[in-house]
């Protein structure tokens, strides 16, 4: 008996010692002398038996024999598939020959990207160079002094608008003179009243 059992439990076995005894089957001598501890051990043992029975029952109820047989068949089928994987049926020769050159000529994606980038650079540089070669050489000073070239349709437009303004002005002035010589309604009514 352990010292702790002697002091703390008035000589009785601890729960843990009883569990160890029941589970391992090593029966301590104390159980032969002490009815209380023997009864506790028996209670625990019965409880464990019941629990085991119920536990196994519940697992077995979840897996009836038919399901076990089905599972076993499924395991063996899977093993067979692993051992003898499905055969790959080869394609006819003609198709294989057609595929061969294509696979031989396959170009890596990185090379395609490099070629595309190089093409872009060559295009941009070539465009710039051709634009410079086509334009006449002109100094920066000339470019500043020179007036912007005026095109013929623009001049025609300007003239037309000026003519229109002049006509408007003329029309107004002639109307003012006409307005001055025209008798007013007030004056006319005054004369009539006299």
């Amino acid at each position: 008996m352990r010292f702790a059992d002697l002091i703390l439990r008035q000589g009785h076995l601890s729960e843990r010692t009883i569990v160890d005894a029941v589970m391992s089957g090593n029966r301590p001598a104390h159980l032969d002398r002490c009815d209380i501890c023997a009864s506790r051990a028996v209670d625990l043992s019965r409880w464990l038996d019941d629990t085991r029975e119920i536990g196994l029952e519940s697992a077995d109820a979840a897996f009836p024999p038919e399901q076990l047989a089905a599972q076993r068949a499924q395991i063996l089928r899977k093993l067979e598939q692993l051992d003898e994987p499905s055969r790959v049926i080869s394609f006819p020769r003609h198709t294989a020959r057609v595929d061969e050159p294509a696979s031989g000529r396959r170009v890596a994606a990185s090379w395609v990207a490099i070629a595309a980038a190089a093409g872009l650079i060559v295009g941009v540089v070539g465009g710039q160079v051709s634009a410079r070669l086509a334009a006449p050489p002109a100094s920066a000073a000339d470019a500043n002094l020179a007036e912007p070239p005026v095109s013929e349709p623009a001049v025609a437009n300007n003239r037309a608008s000026l003519k229109h303004d002049y006509d408007d002005a003329l029309t107004l002035r002639s109307l003012e003179a006409l307005d001055e010589i025209t008798p007013r309604l007030v004056q006319t009514s005054a004369r009539g009243g006299r």
Binding site: E15, R16, V19, D20, M23, S24, L44, W47, L48, T51, R52, I54, G55, L56, E57, S58, A59, D60, A61, A62, F63, Q67, L68, Q71, R72, Q74, I75, L76, K78, L79, E80, L82, D83, E84
Partner: protein, 223 residues
């Protein structure tokens, strides 16, 4: 006495012999024969494996898959099997690792999925419990079902390791040393887990159930 019958071979020795034969047949390329021999091992350990997996993962479908996977892994890796270790222990270790992976995967999944509906006692509803079936009288069936439900409910409240150790030690009758080899835990840790599991289970199952609730449940089940 010459020609006397050979001493009876224990189950462990028989398993080891079959496993070694399977290994040799695989190496020789006689795969059909290897599978046939391996089928013996499947038949011998299937029930036990299902019990362990069922109590560990707490789900019949998961347990079924875990057991299938474990047998397939065992067959594929039988080359690594050492004769000094019982086949049962080696296989159980494979099974437990598989179950543990499944539990982890399920926990990850459950973060994103709504929880399973529970009945008033906190157990998962199993529609099969409410269906009539053949067997003992309805009353016995209801009582047995109720006891199972209570035990399963209590077991599900145990931490995973405690549940595993309790199941292997008690349901499977393994010694602390064997459980230690199967689980990779120390022997002393195994004993501590076992004691705690028993203490907790006893306290959980000792709680008096609400008679009104139990009555309602039985009534519903009988209906």
């Amino acid at each position: 006495m010459t020609g006397a019958s050979q001493p009876p071979v224990s189950a462990k020795e028989a398993d080891a012999r079959v496993a070694v034969e399977v290994k040799a047949l695989q190496a020789a390329g006689k795969l059909a024969a290897a599978r046939e021999r391996f089928a013996e091992l499947v038949g011998r350990h299937q029930r036990r494996a299902l019990r362990i997996a069922f109590h560990y993962v707490r789900d019949a479908a998961d347990a079924d898959e875990a057991v299938q996977d474990a047998f397939i892994k065992a067959y594929l890796h039988i080359g690594t099997f050492r004769e000094e270790l019982p086949f049962e222990v080696w296989f159980t270790r494979i099974l437990i690792n598989g179950c543990l992976d499944r539990i982890k995967a399920r926990k990850r999944r459950e973060r994103w999925i709504a929880p399973t509906p529970l009945d008033p006692s906190g157990n998962e509803r199993n529609p099969a419990d409410y269906l009539p079936s053949r067997g003992p009288s309805p009353e016995d069936q209801v009582l047995a079902s109720e006891r199972r439900r209570q035990l399963n409910g209590a077991l599900s409240k145990l931490p995973e390791r405690q549940r595993l150790v309790f199941m292997l030690s008690h349901f499977e009758g393994r010694s602390s040393r064997e459980v230690s080899t199967m689980t990779g835990l120390n022997e002393s840790t195994v004993r501590v887990h076992l004691f705690r599991a028993i203490r907790r289970l006893r306290s959980l199952l000792a709680k008096p159930a609400d008679p009104a609730q139990a009555g309602r449940r039985i009534h519903r089940a009988v209906r």
